[in-house]
């Protein structure tokens, strides 16, 4: 057994699990290059047709819209997440800290369906926002939030915010408080010390949080499906439709693969950014 007791026991189940996941991903990859036989679940021979089909405006638009929504969502959850993470890490009383923490992460554990449905009650034509505005007499008829890109983006920001807060808070909590104190002792006020010390030092967390928010938004399904109502579609909705309405699994697979490649590319770019930052830091 030597110096690594139980190595086999520890690794084998994990390796099997990884293998299963790899097989599933390989299955998607394989299907992406197979021909669709309409009306049948069987697939045909090797083809590039699926990827060519993606260039059609309908699909290209959805791709662009998805990337745009992902970028928008990542940006706004960063904007909202940073002050919250900062408040969480710098909270003076433990009670306030606990409140912030539980509030910040609870939505993460509610699941997409409950959260999206809740937004329905907020944004719907007879929902909370319209009800309140009508009651106050500020508007005459309901404002359309449902089935708009704004409504979808709002709900998506809500979905990604907890992850963003956790990643930013993790990064911020690793910054030694003495750096800020040192900046103050050298004559830098709160604004200057934040911009020159805290913000640059939290950059790895910002990049990690943005990347994760991007990937999570790409993964979102129920939010664009319910709030978007078929009018604001993302890649995920298309994949589901193609699979379960048209039974065109090869095309669904090819869309997934391109989406995966795109996510990987974005994460890769951010990773390079992080590595460059770390090199600067040495």
């Amino acid at each position: 057994m030597g110096k690594r007791p139980f190595l086999g026991w520890f690794v084998t189940p994990g390796a099997l699990c990884a293998l299963g996941f790899a097989a599933a991903m390989a299955a998607v990859l394989q299907y992406a290059f197979r021909a669709h036989i309409p009306g049948s679940l069987e697939v045909g021979g090797f083809t590039w047709a699926n990827f060519e089909g993606m260039l059609r405006p309908l699909y290209a638009t959805v791709f662009l819209q998805t990337v745009w929504l992902c970028a928008l969502t990542a940006f706004f959850s960063l904007l909202l997440g940073y002050p919250l993470a900062h408040a969480l890490v710098h909270a003076r009383s433990t009670a306030w800290k606990s409140v912030l923490l539980v509030v910040a992460v609870t939505p993460l554990f509610l699941g997409e369906v409950v959260r999206t449905y809740s937004w329905l009650t907020v944004l719907g034509n007879s929902g909370f926002v319209n009800g309140a505005l009508l009651w106050l007499g500020l508007i005459d008829g309901p404002i359309q939030f449902m089935f708009t890109r704004f409504g979808v983006a709002l709900a998506l920001v809500h979905v990604t915010l907890p992850v963003m807060v956790i990643m930013l808070a993790a990064a911020l909590s690793h910054i030694d408080r003495d750096y800020e104190r040192a900046a103050h002792s050298l004559g830098a006020g709160p604004v200057r010390s934040f911009l020159t010390v805290t913000l640059p030092l939290s950059m790895p967390g910002i990049l990690a949080g943005t990347g994760t928010a991007f990937a999570w938004t790409f993964s979102a399904f129920a939010t664009p499906q319910i709030i978007g109502g078929g009018r604001v579609n993302m890649v995920s909705n298309l994949v589901y439709q193609l699979g379960f309405s048209s039974f065109n699994f090869p095309f669904a697979a090819s869309l997934s693969i391109v989406g995966l490649a795109l996510t990987a590319a974005v994460l890769g770019l951010l990773r390079i950014g992080t590595m460059r930052l770390e090199r600067v830091g040495t």
């Binding site: 104190r181 002792s185 050298l186 004559g187 006020g189 030092l201």
Partner: protein, 362 residues
Amino acid sequence: MAAEPRPALQVDGVTRRFGAVTALADAWLKVPPGEFLTLLGPSGCGKSTLLNLIAGFLEPDQGEIFIDGALVTEVPVWQRGIGMVFQNYALFPHMTVAKNVAYGLAARRVPREEAARRVAEALALVKLTGMEERKPRQLSGGQQQRVALARALVIRPKLLLLDEPFSALDRNLRGAMQVELREIQRSLGIATVFVTHDQGEALSMSDRVAVMSEGRIRQVGTPEAIYRRPADRFVAEFVGDVNRLPARLVAVEGETALVECGACRLSVPAAPLAAAAAGTAVDLFLRPEQIRTAPPGTPGLTEAVVAARAFHGDHADLHCDAPGMAQRLLLRVPGHAAEGPGARLALLPDPSADAVAFPISG
């Protein structure tokens, strides 16, 4: 009478509580220009609280703080004109050495050329010329400390604060850095408040030492005064090694009091015994090097048996058991002295001994 120079730092009756705990109680302190003052005490004694109050990281519940004659109690840290060296230096890891040192100048909007000149001067002062473009992580512990010092000094602070700056250095480097820091501090004539729990460091570096415990400043004085004439039982026991012997107060005569221990009579400062009546039992404190040995049977403080001997080169420590004493006595004898375990000795006070005595406390 010459006018007293304006103190670089003045702490007037400052109190700070954390919840129910009083971290600092009614502290009074004056640091004249150019003085190196050390706050010494065990962890939790309030020395860090006091330093943070002076720096402005904490606000006092009561009392006022003046830096260079100006009231700063309500002034935020960044406007106090202090320089501070942190325990782990807190060098900004994303900036070069030069950027770190220039940080305070940039915050003060010093013109670029003047800033560059002053950074070069400061780095020359701490012997780091040529290291400008290094990152903190590429420096040794000693070099990091020099950068931290240069960064704190380049802004020409009115007061330099040092928060246990040597605790992260290994022993060999520590001594050299202590000497160097003191040289730089003296050459610039900058008033300095230094925090440490290491009494050796405090005694060797300071102009004056403030000994603290349980949120109170127990005694402020020169290192020699602290060592030879401790004001209370805590200071006597915390600074240096000391032996406690049972004694009896004989009489108080003005500034001095007479106490009796075994067959010896010793004069001690009267102030700590002001409240005690003649005849009451007191504790006599004697440093290890202030006790001499004599053949058994000689009338002295007590008789004792050597239990263990620890050799330290130039001297040896004898740990002795004396009848009726719960604590072992510590004697410091020349390294060549022959007494070993089992030896029976009589103990006598050194004629020049600075003995002190305190009433027995509950």
